[in-house]
């Protein structure tokens, strides 16, 4: 199973978690990114994610392909949300499975790191006294 999904509705972590792993897999690793209530020392009220839809799908699919080429994975699922997120909501879900645990840990880490560097998605933090686009570094 290999799938990349972009969606505006809330990400159902439980639903996606259950889709991972085959009988040949001894390990499943999931990474969930969540909207945090603090950014540095500033309280965040909510977030808005802007996304370049078509390009983000392409880029995330490329990242998943790279991971599956580098590690032997039974399944690889990436779900990224856009639009407005309340604190505590899931912004991104990554789930991988593999025969042994090394591959699952390494590949999930690789995928989230690359998404944060390459996928055309931007986060805007809203505070009680304003808002700010967050820009990453390459």
């Amino acid at each position: 199973m290999k799938k990349v999904i972009i969606q505006q509705e809330a990400i159902d972590v439980a639903k996606y978690s259950c889709q991972l792993g085959s009988d040949a897999d001894g390990a499943v690793v999931t990474f969930t990114g969540r909207a945090r209530n603090m950014s540095g020392d500033k309280a965040v009220e909510y977030l808005v994610y802007d996304i370049y839809n078509g390009m983000a799908i392409n880029e995330m699919q490329r990242i998943v392909d790279e991971a599956m080429e580098r590690w032997r994975l039974g399944s690889c699922l990436v779900v990224h949300r856009y639009g407005k997120l309340a604190i505590g909501e899931t912004s991104v879900f990554i789930g991988v499975s593999s025969p042994h645990r090394e591959e699952s840990f390494a590949s999930s880490r690789y995928i989230i790191d690359e998404i944060k560097h390459r996928a055309p998605i931007w986060k805007k933090e809203y505070y009680s006294d304003g808002s700010r686009w967050i820009e990453g570094q390459r």
């Binding site: 994610y49 390009m55 990224h80 912004s91 944060k116 390459r118 996928a119 055309p120 570094q137």
Partner: protein, 81 residues
Amino acid sequence: MKIRVKAFASIKDILGFDEKELTVSDSISVSDVVALLEKCYPGLKTVQDALLYARNEEYCRVDTELADEDTLAIFPHVSGG
């Protein structure tokens, strides 16, 4: 020729649009388009070093040549995840 310019995040705020069609001369490069935009939107100059570009949904360099019907996206460093 005609190209489409897309803007995201802070660049969308600076330009005031998320998508616009431009009629430009043939054999124009990404940097030429940015220079054109800077005339109408001087705010773009202040962030120029931090810009990334994509041609038809693929990252590209600032010296990339554009063709008719191309889509050029301009955006800041990404921060998803």
